[in-house]
C-alpha cells in the first residue's frame, strides 16, 4: 500500500503546507533544545551551551530549505513564488506591463487569426468522405491555350462510359433561380447549381433530411426536383420539415423539394443554396455537345489508382474523340486533373501565406520590442541583480525569475490576443463571404494549442534574450561602473542595437510588401475600363424562361417597355441593357466566321467575347461609338441581323480592311457589321479583348444587366427603377443593385483586402519600431547624462551633442534599413504573382519606404537627442 501512503502524503503536502512548515520548525527547534540540554549536562554554562548548540547546528534557514526541498510539490511552490514575485515586479511598473502586453496581444492576435484562416482553408481536409481521392477534372484545349478548360457535356459522357480509373464522375454548372415568394414573401434571386444526380454520392455526402437525387431524376423528361441548403431552409422556410415533397417555384416552374443538405455543406461554394439535376434543367440538345465548354467536373479515383493514371485514362478517351472530330476545333485533345482541395483554394493560397508571413513578422517585431523593453529593465535593475548575485542568489534562480516575468507578459498578451483573434475571425467571416471554404473557418482546439505554443515561444524568446544580456562575470563590473557614474556597459547597448536593427529590417520588408500591393491595387483601380464609371447604376434582371420564352418576343417587349419607362424617370440621362457590363467578367465567347473572308482551314476557329446589347447600351455606358451607328431598334427577332464590334476586334480580324458592311456568320445567321465601338476591359486586370455585340432585340436572351446613367446621385434611382420592375412583373426579383464603383470594388475585393491588411500590419510594425528606437535612445541618453554633462561643461556645442546622439540612434536604423531592403528584394520576387502593373523591384516603392522609415526613425530619435542637447551641465553632474 505504499502508493496509498504516498498519495496521502502528497495530498497532505499540497493542502497542509503551512502546517508542515510549522512542524518542521518545531522539529528543528526540538533538536536544538536537545543539543543545549546535552551541552548543559556536559557542564557548560547556559549561555555557552546555547552558543555551542547554535554553532553546531549551522544555518537554520538553509537546513529548513534543504528539508523542504525533499517535499513533494516543491516545484509548484517555487513556481508560485516566482509567479507572485513576477506579478509584483510587473505591478510596480504598470505602464511597462501594459505596453508589453498590448504589443504581444497585437502580435499574437494577428498571427492566430491568420493561422486559423490558413489552417481552416488550406490545411484541413475537405469535409467529404475520403477527400484525398477526389479530383477536379479539366479538358486540355486543342489549341493549347487553356490547359485547364472547363468541360463539355458530350466529352464527359464519353469519360463516364469508357473510363476504368474512377469509381464515380460528376459535373455541375452555375444556375441562377428566381425563387417565388409564398404567402406574400418577396421573390428572391438564389444562386444554385445544376449538377448530375451523383454529385453528392461522389463527394460522399448524404442529405440531412429527405433523399438524394436518383438517376431517374436526372433526365429531361423527369419531374423537376431540387435539394436545398440548410441555411436557405432555415431562413426562408423556418426550418419546417413539412417542406419535404412540397413544391416551390423556381423561375416560375414547380420543383419538388426532395431533401435538405446538412448544415455546413458548401459545394461548389458557400453561396450555392439550391441543387437540381442538370440533365433535367438544361435543354437536351445542349447536353450532347463536345465543344460547348460550360461545366466543372469532379471525380473519385478508384482505390490504388494515382491521379497520373486517372489523367492518362481520360486523356486517351479525349484524344480519340478529338481525332474523330477533326473538323471541330473546340474538341479538346487531352484531360487534366487537380486535387479537389487545390482546385478550390488554389487562388487564395499565395495571398494567405503572404499574410501569414506578414503576421509572423509582426509577432517577431513584437517579441523583439518586448525583449528590448526587458533588456532596458534588466539594465535599470543591474545593481539590484548584482547585489542579489553577490549575496548568493543562484544564476538559474535569477534566470527563472526573468523567464517568469516574460512568461507572464506573454500569457496575458496571448489571452488578449486570442480575444482579438476571435473578433478578427468574425470580422473576416462577415467581410470575406466570397472566399472559398470561408464556411470552414473557426477557432478550435488546435488554434488554442497554437496560441499556447506562441505564448511559450514569445516568453522564451523575449526572456532568454534579455537574460543573456546580463553576464554573471560582469557583476562586479556593473557594481563598479554604476558607482562611477560612467556610461553603460557596451555589451548592453550592442545587444539592444542589434535587436533594433532586426526590428527595423523586418519593418522595412513589411512596408515594401504593403507598398507593392497598394501600388498594384491603385494601378488596378486606375486602369482604364473604356467606359464611364461615374454615376452609373447597374442591376441584374433575369426573366423566367417559362413565361419569357427564348427566342421570342416576350423578353424583347419586356425589355423595351422597361427601358422606355426607366428613361422617362426624372433624373435618368441614359439607360440600356447588356448581357454584362465592362469589369463584370469574361462570361462567354462564341466562334464566328467572316462571310467575306475565305473559309478557315479545317480544325481551326476564331472566337471572341460575345455580348447581347440593346441600341442604347453604348450611350448609357459611355462606350464611344467610333464609326458607323448602333443597332436599329426597329429590327426585331429574325430581322435583327446587325452586329457591332470593338476596336480590338477590328485590329485582330480586319487589320487592313473596312469592317463596316462586312458580315459575321454566327449560329446559321449572317449579321452585318454596322458599328465600331471603343475597347472595354471585361476585367480590370486584363487588357481589352475583341468583343462582338449582337442585338438584344433578337429575343435570344432573357437575362441581363440594366445600366442607368444620371448626372445626379444615381443611387437614388435604385428604388424607383425597382418599383417599375415590380409593377411590370411582381414575381421578378432584382439582384446586385450596384453602382459601377461598387461593382468594380467588389471585383477587386481580393486585392484591396490583401493590400489593406498588409498596410495595417506594416503600419503596426512601423509604430513598434519607432517606439523601440525612441525607448532605446531615451534610455541611452539617460544613462549618459553624466558624460553629456561633462562634454557640455567642457565646451561641446549643443548642435554637436544633438548630432552625435541623433547619429547614435539612427545607426541601427540605417543598418536595419539596408538589411531590410535586401530582404525585401527577395520577398518581393516571391509575391510577383500578386502584383499587377508593378515590378517586384519598384523603385518608387523602395525609395519611398526608405524615406518614410528614415523620417520616422529621425522623428523617434529627435526627442531624446534634443533633450540631451538641452541638458543643464550643472544639474546633470549633480544627479549622479
Amino acid at each position: 500500500m505504499r502508493w496509498l501512503a504516498q498519495l496521502r502524503m502528497r495530498i497532505q503536502m499540497l493542502f497542509g503546507r503551512g502546517k508542515a512548515a510549522a512542524h518542521l520548525d518545531d522539529e528543528l527547534q526540538f533538536h536544538l533544545e536537545q543539543q543545549i540540554a546535552e551541552n548543559l549536562a556536559a557542564g557548560m554554562s547556559a549561555e555557552e551551551a546555547r552558543f555551542a548548540a547554535l554553532w553546531n547546528f549551522g544555518n537554520p534557514a538553509l537546513l529548513r530549505e534543504q528539508a523542504r526541498a525533499t517535499w513533494s510539490w516543491t516545484w509548484l511552490e517555487l513556481l508560485m513564488r516566482d509567479l507572485r514575485y513576477g506579478v509584483r515586479t510587473l505591478a510596480r511598473t504598470p505602464g511597462f506591463a501594459a505596453i508589453a502586453v498590448l504589443v504581444i496581444a497585437l502580435g499574437i492576435g494577428a498571427n492566430v487569426t491568420m493561422f486559423t484562416v490558413v489552417r481552416s482553408v488550406l490545411l484541413k481536409p475537405l469535409p467529404f468522405n475520403d477527400p484525398d481521392r477526389l479530383v477536379a477534372l479539366y479538358e486540355h484545349s486543342a489549341d493549347d491555350q487553356y490547359p485547364y478548360n472547363i468541360i463539355a457535356p458530350g466529352v464527359f459522357a464519353e469519360w463516364q462510359k469508357q473510363n476504368r480509373t474512377f469509381s464515380s464522375l460528376a459535373f455541375f454548372g452555375d444556375a441562377e433561380f428566381n425563387l417565388s415568394g409564398v404567402r406574400g414573401q418577396l421573390p428572391e434571386k438564389v444562386h444554385g447549381a445544376a449538377c448530375t444526380w451523383n454529385l453528392l454520392p461522389t463527394l460522399g455526402v448524404q442529405p440531412a433530411l429527405g433523399r438524394n437525387f436518383t438517376e431517374a431524376d436526372d433526365r429531361h423528361s423527369a419531374n423537376a426536383t431540387v435539394l436545398m441548403s440548410w441555411g436557405l431552409w432555415k431562413r426562408r422556410f423556418g426550418g419546417d420539415p413539412a417542406i419535404l415533397n412540397q413544391t416551390i417555384h423556381l423561375d416560375g416552374q414547380p420543383y419538388t423539394v426532395i431533401g435538405i443538405l446538412p448544415s455546413g455543406f458548401a459545394y461548389p461554394d458557400a453561396s450555392t443554396q439550391l441543387w437540381t439535376p442538370v440533365y433535367h434543367y438544361k435543354p437536351a440538345e445542349q447536353m450532347d455537345s463536345l465543344a460547348a465548354h460550360q461545366f466543372q467536373a469532379i471525380g473519385r479515383l478508384k482505390p490504388g489508382i494515382t491521379a497520373a493514371q486517372g489523367v492518362a485514362d481520360l486523356s486517351v478517351i479525349t484524344r480519340r474523340l478529338h481525332d474523330q472530330h477533326l473538323d471541330n476545333p473546340f474538341v479538346s485533345k487531352a484531360a487534366n486533373i487537380k486535387p479537389l482541395l487545390e482546385d478550390m483554394v488554389g487562388d487564395v493560397k499565395q495571398p494567405l501565406y503572404v499574410l501569414l508571413a506578414a503576421t509572423c513578422c509582426v509577432l517577431l517585431i513584437a517579441c523583439l520590442n518586448v525583449a528590448n523593453l526587458l533588456v532596458a529593465r534588466a539594465a535599470a535593475r543591474r545593481k539590484e541583480l548584482a547585489i542579489r548575485t553577490a549575496l548568493g542568489g543562484g544564476r538559474l534562480r535569477l534566470l527563472r525569475e526573468r523567464l517568469m516575468e516574460s512568461f507572464l507578459l506573454s500569457a496575458a498578451g496571448g489571452a488578449a490576443g486570442l480575444l482579438l483573434a476571435y473578433g478578427a475571425v468574425h470580422w473576416l467571416l462577415s467581410t470575406r463571404k466570397d472566399m472559398s471554404r470561408v464556411e470552414a473557418i473557426h477557432i478550435d482546439g488546435a488554434v488554442a494549442a497554437f496560441t499556447v505554443g506562441l505564448i511559450v515561444l514569445c516568453a522564451l524568446f523575449a526572456g532568454l534574450i534579455s537574460s543573456l544580456s546580463t553576464k554573471s562575470n560582469q557583476l562586479l563590473l556593473s557594481l563598479q561602473d554604476s558607482a562611477r557614474g560612467s556610461s553603460a556597459g557596451r555589451a548592453h547597448t550592442m545587444l539592444r542595437r542589434s535587436l533594433l536593427a532586426a526590428e527595423v529590417g523586418l519593418t522595412v520588408v513589411l512596408l515594401v510588401a504593403a507598398g507593392l500591393l497598394l501600388k498594384s491595387y491603385q494601378r488596378l483601380r486606375s486602369s482604364d475600363l473604356g467606359c464611364t464609371t461615374q454615376n452609373v447604376l447597374t442591376m441584374q434582371i433575369g426573366l423566367p424562361g417559362a413565361r419569357y420564352k427564348t427566342p421570342g418576343l416576350a423578353p424583347v417587349n419586356f425589355f423595351e417597355t422597361l427601358l422606355t419607362r426607366v428613361r422617362a424617370l426624372p433624373g435618368v440621362d441614359e439607360a440600356g441593357i447588356a448581357e454584362a457590363v465592362p469589369g463584370q467578367g469574361y462570361w462567354q465567347d462564341e466562334d464566328f466566321s467572316v462571310v467575306e473572308h475565305p473559309p478557315l482551314p479545317q480544325g481551326t476557329a476564331q472566337y471572341a467575347i460575345y455580348r447581347f446589347a440593346d441600341s442604347g447600351f453604348f450611350a448609357a455606358m459611355g462606350i464611344p461609338l467610333l464609326r458607323g451607328h448602333t443597332f436599329d431598334p426597329n429590327r426585331k427577332l429574325d430581322q435583327a441581323d446587325q452586329a457591332i464590334v470593338n476596336a480590338a476586334f477590328v485590329k485582330q480580324y480586319f487589320p487592313n480592311e473596312d469592317p463596316l458592311g462586312k458580315h459575321l456568320h454566327n449560329e446559321k445567321k449572317d449579321y452585318e457589321i454596322v458599328g465600331i465601338v471603343g475597347d472595354t476591359r471585361h476585367s480590370l486586370a486584363e487588357d481589352p479583348k475583341p468583343i462582338q455585340y449582337y442585338p438584344l432585340d433578337e429575343g435570344k436572351e432573357n437575362a441581363g444587366t440594366l445600366v442607368i446613367r444620371s448626372s445626379r446621385d444615381v443611387k437614388q434611382l435604385a428604388m424607383p427603377v425597382q418599383r417599375i420592375i415590380q409593377e411590370m412583373d411582381h414575381d421578378l426579383p432584382v439582384s446586385d443593385v450596384l453602382t459601377m464603383d461598387q461593382l468594380l470594388g467588389k471585383s477587386t475585393m481580393d486585392q484591396s483586402f490583401n493590400a489593406t491588411l498588409l498596410v495595417v500590419f506594416a503600419g503596426l510594425s512601423l509604430v513598434l519600431a519607432a517606439v523601440g528606437l525612441f525607448g532605446v535612445l531615451s534610455y541611452i541618453v539617460s544613462q549618459r547624462t553624466g558624460e553629456i554633462g561633462i562634454r557640455i561643461a567642457l565646451g561641446a556645442q549643443r548642435e554637436q551633442v544633438l548630432r552625435k546622439v541623433l547619429f547614435d540612434g539612427l545607426r541601427p536604423a540605417l543598418f536595419g534599413l539596408v538589411f531590410g531592403l535586401a530582404a525585401s528584394a527577395a520577398a518581393a520576387r516571391l509575391m510577383r504573382s500578386m502584383l499587377y502593373g508593378t515590378q517586384p523591384l519598384d523603385l518608387v516603392v523602395f525609395v519611398s519606404v526608405a524615406a518614410m522609415l528614415l523620417l520616422v526613425a529621425a522623428l523617434a530619435c529627435m526627442v531624446p537627442a534634443w533633450r540631451a542637447s538641452r541638458l543643464d551641465p550643472m544639474r546633470a553632474l549633480r544627479t549622479e
Binding site: W3, A5, Q6, E27, F30, F57, L63, R68, W71
Partner: protein
C-alpha cells in the same frame, strides 16, 4: 578517533531505516544512536539528517507521529512502514553484497 566520516550518498537512508527498525525515534535520537552504535565514527549532520528523514517520509518508507518525548516535550517520532521494512531488507542485502565485494578487493588485491 579520526575525523567523522562523511556518509556515502544513499548509505544514510539505510542507516536511518535500520535504526528505526528497532523502535520509533525522533531525529535527535536517530543521530545519537547512529553515533553511539558506530562508536563515534559516523556523525550525522543535521543538514543531511532532516532532508533524508523528510525524503523517506515523502517516499512512504517511514511515517511520523507527534508524541511526548522523554523530556515531556512534543517531538516528531518516526517509525518504519511495511514498505520501509521491505526496503530495508532490500537495501541491507545490497549493502552486504557491496561491502563484501569491496572487502574482497581491499584484502585480496
Amino acid at each position: 578517533m579520526g575525523k567523522p566520516v562523511d556518509l556515502v550518498q544513499g548509505t544514510l537512508d539505510l542507516l536511518i531505516l535500520k535504526t528505526l527498525s528497532l523502535e520509533a525515534m525522533h531525529g535527535w535520537a536517530i543521530a545519537k544512536r547512529i553515533q553511539q552504535v558506530s562508536r563515534e565514527v559516523l556523525q550525522v549532520q543535521q543538514g543531511s539528517l532532516y532532508p533524508a528523514l523528510h525524503r523517506l517520509e515523502q517516499q512512504g518508507w517511514i511515517k511520523a507521529k507527534w508524541a511526548e518525548s522523554e523530556t515531556g516535550r512534543q517531538a516528531k517520532f518516526y517509525s518504519l512502514t511495511a514498505a520501509g521494512r521491505r526496503q530495508l531488507e532490500g537495501e541491507t542485502a545490497n549493502w552486504n553484497r557491496l561491502s563484501a565485494a569491496i572487502d574482497l578487493i581491499v584484502t585480496e588485491a
